[in-house]
């Protein structure tokens, strides 16, 4: 194949954004819960914060003026290219190592057993 295969940096970016969004949303929820607590509960409630936070979202109504802003991290273009290269190397390594094992066993097709053999070391290496 003449065209060089690699992961599309945009695709990688979207996967990253998805994970970051998920984390940002979580952070936002926690932050909101804390804000509420600061407003509603007086200083005495701060001592029992961990348990209190858990209950707030279900039992209390929120004052509408409480806002949370959550910053989501960005990624620069070269970092994304480098990440897609890292992922490409991961896949290439998996195939090449499995191919070595398959070759040693005299097989022309890479099967599950070959992947199983190389998997532990592959995961340790990345």
């Amino acid at each position: 194949m003449e065209k060089e295969n690699t992961f599309d940096p945009d695709l990688v970016h979207e996967i990253f954004k998805l994970v970051w969004k998920r984390k940002a949303a979580e952070r936002g929820k926690n932050e909101l819960a804390e804000n509420i607590e600061d407003e509603v509960g007086a200083s005495s409630s701060k001592r029992i914060r961990p348990t209190f936070v858990e209950y707030v979202p279900r039992t209390m109504s929120y004052p509408s003026h409480v806002c949370v802003s959550v910053l989501m991290i960005k990624a620069n273009a070269n970092a994304l290219k480098l990440s897609s290269e890292l992922l490409r190397v991961f896949v290439a390594e998996a195939i090449q190592r499995a191919a070595t094992i398959a070759e040693a066993e005299g097989s022309v097709k890479i099967e599950a057993t070959h992947l199983e053999r190389i998997l532990p070391q592959l995961l340790l290496d990345f």
């Binding site: 509408s64 806002c67 070269n78 970092a79 190592r97 992947l115 990345f126």
Partner: protein
Amino acid sequence: MATSLAAMTARRATTFTHFPFSSLTSQAVSIQLDRPVSRASFAIGKCDMLNNCPTMEDLDGGMASDVEREEEEAVTDLLRDRFRLCTISIAEGEAKQCGMEVSQPIITCISDLAFKFAEQLSKDLELFAQHAGRKSVNMEDVILSAHRNDHLAASLRSFCNDLKTKEPNLERKRKKNPRREGRVAPDLLRTPDT
């Protein structure tokens, strides 16, 4: 199993070629934005418009969060399929170089592994960037994420230098890569013995 999977991916491949990837994603986003704005922005984290106040329904658990979770899963599945397409092309190219064939379930398996790896990588990168007090991830973070493996880090660093020096013609340096990776592979294979 293998044939049906191949047929499935082939069908997907044809649908994908009709739309460029970006149009697919914009479709997905527009579907989600049909919902009330405050909730959509909170759930999908359109965090550029940050100052939306989540209303009570957003946070009271129950149905709303179920819907959100389902939609998030749909987006994840879409991304996973696109990721699999890329993996298939890489894996088959690589296998062709070795003169081997790869069975489809194996590629699927490797693709899922790589997807998990990507998710983990994104968490690492975010933490590294935050630790450095930056608001964006840069190349150093990516190299740092590979620091456990010297060969890998070195390979990434040289790729990084290539990116820096040859900014204008991006396509040429990608072409060089497979040969370099071919050199790295035997080194990595030897590590278990030591």
